[in-house]
Assembly symmetry: C5
Homo-oligomer: 89 residues x 5
């Protein structure tokens, strides 16, 4: 799993029906690269979360045919975000 920070909700009106009404969030890794994740938990902007990729993202989003390759599975209670924290590792 990877660690991401929630940026904001993604609005995509034209979509395949399999996406259903799940919430899609833009999330960002510490190195700045953005992805889009399915949110089955209910995160808010700024939250640090862990998200699962690969085929595990499908079941985590609800069922084995859900079209997700990145699904949030938990909200992190505490995570150091400063560069000092990164160096101290």
């Amino acid at each position: 799993m990877k660690i991401f920070q929630i940026e904001n909700t993604l609005v995509a009106t034209a979509r395949i029906t399999q996406l259903e009404n799940h919430r899609l969030l833009v999330v960002r890794e510490k190195n700045g690269s953005r992805s889009v994740a399915v949110d089955p938990i209910g995160c808010k902007e700024g939250d640090w979360v862990i998200a699962v990729g690969s085929s595990a993202a499908k079941d985590a989003a609800g069922h084995a045919k859900y079209p997700s390759d990145l699904t949030i599975v938990g909200i992190i209670d505490y995570w150091e975000t400063g560069e000092a924290g990164e160096a101290a590792g």
Copy 2:
């Protein structure tokens, strides 16, 4: 899922039969790297879209044996593309 911008249609006459007559599009990430995605929605050049990878791309393209590892699942209604947008994150 990742965010891409549609570049253009890819023409590949010699192909395996499992690809059927699905539209293949060249798509580009913000960092410039290109991929080829199956388009079940009907996107046009310049659209910003989200596409799913991993094994979820197969079902998203139609069925569990379709040979896709990247399938467009939605067209983004709004997405900041400028560097300023990137910095503001």
Copy 3:
């Protein structure tokens, strides 16, 4: 899917039996990184092709247990290879 150019045939006499007699080709992305792909089409050196990865590469190579993570699925009719083409995107 990713875009690759065919370099040459890979010879690997000692191999697991599941690889059968499929042709293996060294392919190269525009950024220079090399991979090895199964070729069910019949490509020749210099061809630009699209290849599928992830679990979809197995079925594309013939059946669900074929040990491939990269299988060529089509030969591109036209692809700009120059830097100018890249900038024009």
Copy 4:
């Protein structure tokens, strides 16, 4: 599989139920990039381990529907960590 060093336990109280009570650890590759792995073995801080990704991470964590894309599968008895070791490769 990739080689990681254990950093610390990750606390994520709000989580999807499928994660059960498995231990989640922050792990770091030699190049510094962090991931979160499921630990079915019982590692301690500083241990060098191997972890499996892709769909194999699910079964390694217990069963085919467990939402993991990175699961620790072994603790390395010996691993060179210095730059000299890296150069000697």
Copy 5:
């Protein structure tokens, strides 16, 4: 599939039982990044090999539930390793 050179055997006494007694090898890509692969063939140090990733690594290592995401599938008979070879591509 990717091309790797065999470095050495990895010793991991504490491991999950699903790993069985398969040989685990540290392998290195040309760009220097290391991974750990299951070796069902019997490679020796210095060999250049091809290894399969993704879910195909499981069957290649023996069966659909084997916890591998990287399995060696063939030993390359000839591979240019010098920078000249790389430039000549």
